[in-house]
Subunit: 658 residues, 2 copies
């Protein structure tokens, strides 16, 4: 099954080699660059009015001795600044900006000033509990923050060529490397929140230092071994938790919540905190690729299948419960209480990207695309200043306000959270979008996402520029043009054919073509010439999606999709209660041009009906006369754009009636 040919491990193209010019994505990228990054800098500096203060910069200033005061914010607050710097690194890779770079350099100087002489760097422990370093890995995110620092440092090094943050990161990583490991006197432990594992892989690649790769492998392979590190640590600190100061706990920390209940190679079912899980799976896939580790690859495939085929929402989101922001169990996909954190979909994208390196299977690209087009962008309002953490499948604003089990479901995007993980995570993902679009081996160029722009690469001894033009997600025409190509020699263009496009048409220089399609990729091997145009017409027929019968919440319901976009119905177009609407089975789904704030988008309309209380019901809560039905045109909008108009009810899974 595995494609372990010589092109089996293609690498993402360097971000600097990919420029995006795309009618759909460029506005998002410009929003990130022009609004989100500056806005988040203001937020990190506590200058956003009426929003929860971040305190992140202030904590660094206190740790650096530039200010006095107490640490404030979450124990992992440092990571917000690191994620912002990572986004800045990508933004500068794509287009230089001296002003932004100067601000970033100042922030990096501050970070360096907060680093301790031994390389240690964490403002919480430095300011609040210097004597308690490394005593509560379970709760305190020390290695998690280190990981985000490392990712930022690598991104900034790529983006600017400067080693200022990379040197800080290496000093910290060396400190960690000395402390953790299987050797005598070393801590045989790992973090409560996985993140440093995938970061160390990046650091190893950026520096060429294998020790970081070995450290990543140590963290991955140590996790879940017995006796449990988390349990031993819990006993050592007197059975306490950071989150409940002064309380002696009856129960030790949940190992399954931290994906540490068994060695990772033996795991088959995604459990616990969703972001922790997918960050870890991404690192496992990284290491499986680097080390040709079949055992780890098998675990990755099992976990992928469990997440994607048993625990993923149709919008590419994961985490069925807000209790612990966690997975629950197979097929438990409630629509009105799901968590579906934006960060978890970002983590799923990271995992998918790594799996694509291991195996060119369309499913990885499909899921990456599903999460990207539907959840990641849904997490951000069109103003770039309001964000969703939770991406609900169903919203009744009164219930969000009036039912405590639904308080986490917000009908309106929020300004800035005390725990602001998602906004900078969206920023760093979208700033580096180019690196998800393509990958290449020595003789094959893979186009995973069909986003307009240019990609430059050396392949088969040739210098090549591929220009993509794409009308996605609104229409299905995609053209890949060899804009420049030096010399001669065959290489393969491997273009993902999304699973939502069962009827795709291909042409080469205007002549229809039936390429070899394997596992969701169309392969064309050829001595490509400058000016060659490979075109795909994707099938944009709106589609009904049904869920497996085991996913009980969706029984009798249908979701709508067109191209990569999942749709939903909103009160503003359809009237309340949304639950009273049903769509006619088999009725035509008609594309419709959006207007107002949805101008330029494609909506869907369909014949449906509204069920209403009969006239004789007289306001009764319960009655014996059946509801009356009247035809109603149902209008659905792209899920990713929901909640950008008047607040109201929303539903992804719509009742279907014959």
């Amino acid at each position: 099954m595995t494609l372990r040919m010589k092109d089996a491990h293609p690498r993402p193209l360097d971000l600097k080699k990919v420029s995006i010019e795309d009618p759909y994505w460029s506005p998002y990228l410009n929003l990130i660059r022009n609004t989100v990054i500056p806005y988040q800098w203001e937020a990190l500096n506590d200058r956003v009015p009426d929003a929860d203060p971040s305190r992140a910069i202030r904590n660094f200033r206190i740790a650096a001795g530039l200010e006095t005061g107490k640490f404030e914010g979450f124990v992992f607050q440092d990571s917000d600044l690191y994620k912002w710097l990572e986004a800045v690194g990508y933004a500068l890779a794509v287009s230089p900006d001296p002003d932004l770079e100067r601000i970033a350099d100042e922030a990096i100087e501050l970070i360096a000033a907060a680093q301790q002489a031994d390389g240690y760097l964490n403002t919480y422990f430095t300011v609040a509990e210097p004597e308690r370093r490394w005593t509560n890995l379970t709760d305190c995110h020390e290695l998690y923050c280190a990981g985000h620092l490392i990712e930022a440092a690598v991104a900034y090094f790529y983006g600017t060529g400067k080693r200022n943050l990379l040197d800080v990161a290496c000093r910290l990583a060396d400190h960690v490397d000395a402390l953790f490991g299987p050797g005598p006197g070393q801590i045989r432990g790992y973090d409560g929140h996985q993140e440093i594992e995938l970061a160390l892989v990046k650091l190893a690649e950026a520096t060429g230092a294998d020790k970081y790769m070995r450290l990543a492998s140590f963290f991955i392979d140590e996790r879940g071994q017995q006796p449990s590190f988390f349990r031993q640590e819990w006993e050592s600190r007197g059975r306490t938790s950071y989150w409940q100061p002064g309380v002696v706990q009856k129960e030790p920390p949940s190992l399954a919540y931290h994906q540490a209940d068994k060695p990772v190679r033996e795991q088959s079912v995604a459990t616990g905190h969703a972001v922790r899980a997918v960050y870890m799976y991404a690192a496992m896939a990284d290491l499986a690729a680097r080390n040709n580790d079949e055992g780890l690859l098998a675990a990755c495939r099992r976990l992928w299948n469990n997440v994607v085929h048993k625990q993923m929402y149709v919008n590419g989101s994961i985490g069925s419960t807000h209790h612990g922001e966690a997975f629950t169990f197979d097929y438990d996909l409630p629509n009105d209480t799901n968590y579906s954190e934006t960060c978890a979909s970002i983590g799923l994208i990271l995992f998918a990207q790594r799996m694509l390196r291991l195996e060119a299977r369309g499913e990885y690209g499909d899921v990456l695309e599903r999460a990207l087009y539907n959840t990641v962008t849904a997490g951000m309002a069109s103003d770039g200043k309001h964000f969703f953490y939770v991406n609900p499948m169903e919203v009744w604003p009164e219930a969000s306000a009036g039912n405590p089990g639904k308080h986490h479901v917000k009908a309106v995007r929020q300004k800035w959270y005390g725990c602001a993980c998602c906004p900078p995570n969206v920023a760093r993902l979208l700033s580096s979008l180019g690196s998800y679009a393509y990958s290449a081996s020595e003789d094959a160029l893979y186009a995973h996402l069909h986003i307009g722009g240019e990609a430059k690469l050396d392949i088969a001894g040739r210098q090549v520029t591929l220009r993509t033009s794409s009308e996605l997600p609104w229409s299905g025409r995609v053209a890949l043009t060899l804009a420049e190509a030096s010399g001669a020699g065959a290489f393969t263009l491997a273009v993902r054919v999304p699973s939502w496009s069962p009827q795709s048409a291909f042409s080469l220089n205007g002549t229809p073509l039936s390429p070899d399609i394997r596992d969701g990729y169309a392969y064309v091997e050829r001595d490509w010439q400058e000016g060659d145009v490979f075109e795909i017409a994707l099938d944009m027929q709106p589609r009904r999606i049904y869920a497996a019968a085991d996913a009980r919440a969706n029984a009798g319901r249908v979701a709508l999709q067109r191209g990569p976009l999942v749709y939903c119905i909103e009160e503003t177009d359809n009237g309340a209660p949304i639950a009273s609407l049903a769509i006619r089975a088999g009725s035509e789904l008609r594309p419709l041009q959006g207007d107002g704030r949805l101008a330029g988008t494609v909506l869907l309309e369909a014949d449906g009906l509204r069920q209403t209380d009969p006239a004789d019901a007289g306001g009764a809560l319960y009655r014996t006369s059946p509801p009356e039905s009247a035809p109603q045109r149902i209008v659905a909008v792209p899920y990713t754009l929901w909640g950008n108009r008047e607040p109201g009810e929303m539903q992804v899974w719509i009742r279907e009636l014959p």
Copy 2:
């Protein structure tokens, strides 16, 4: 609208005057008498193996100085013993039992020994915090426990004629009466958990002492006045809560949760903890009747309408969320996360019974019957030793185990809870069932529930015995026979005609009759003669119930009812997933004889269908091919009997398809 004729305030018949001999109810009453009461005595004494210990008796022994040790259990643990004694009082009223009475007398002796010299009685404060009496009414249930003591004392006095517990109760009530009130130096406060209000009304009736009625009125009218007693008390004790020792709270206690956000006369919407609310409404109705208080009656009617027409489940249960065991908001009736505590339905029955005293409206009887037949009995397993707190509308056992938002939903009745409010509450309600069946004014006898047995009363100057035979809930024949009747003179027999029986037939001594039917009661005024038989044939046609469109959770769904019983579908009869089943709109609902553990009951069967994944789905979570449908006979069982066979999925609201 109000029936304020001379018979406007009929009184329930004395429990001793009603004997129940009924094929449906007698087994329940025998179960209470022979199993539940003895079992609970064992539980109160910590002698039930593998069940959470109650500690209730032990706490009294410690408070009485008979044992040393620490208080254990909930702060309101005393009330479990009181509720048990109340049930015993009713049981002894119905049939003497020297052995049981001896055990109860010993328990009462123990309670009396734990009473303090000043009349104070509460084992928590006496044992654990004697200096903190009356400093935290909000959280600590001191008056709540006093209320249950009073109810027990009145019941035991009725049942045995003994004043032993009544004297204890009066001493405590006098102590409370001296402490609380509008006078100088008195506490202008009230309890966080209403209960003493309705208990004081009973004490006033039992003793003839008006001061108790005035104290009840004080508690009711003081509640919700500004400045808020609960907020002042919270400030006085340093902004702390009993439930979070040592934590200085940011937020004061929720006034709406305690129904203290506005004066009770101004309340229109049921909020907060459901049991607290309905206990209070019952007391309000009591006082409205005693004091001919139109303002209070108007508030009762508003609150009744809100509860019953906007916040009640179809099984007569209330409390849409387990967060605080509380009401949420109008039409928020989720089926998979509801709380629907057994105790709350008992409280709703208390409220309905009081409203029936005020106004002979069938709706009060309908709701009383709905809660009694569907939720109260569902709360108890057929062995009398396992109980539900939560009465779910939908169960997926895997979700109860694997989704933290559904941990409160149990698929199997539990042995004995640490917080064991419901089991003794079921016992005391069913032990006194006779007092809910009839009421009488000077010249009218009301039959509210059609339960077989005899009722003796003096009416219109005559001594009368009414014998009821009833085949409910399995068939609809009810006969009321004047078994004995001294002298002569007209009086009215007012017989409730349930709203579920739109086609009822009446006869008098075999001759069809069309009685005057007003507001759900059939009125027959007559010089009743010994041997007269008034018969009703109730309409047992199975019925479909639909919910208002505003109750979004039930859109496209139907519930089934036959007679007073609501039905549900269980996995054991229909296979999993239950959610894949749909019933055909308009299909016949056929009664079916139950077998096995459901022998003697009537089930329902209907034509339906099962939707399954199509063959080409290949195990996919999402797919484009619609589900396949195959006809399936759907079998529904009485909701009250669910969960008495193999554990599995259950659903009340069934999808309906044309």
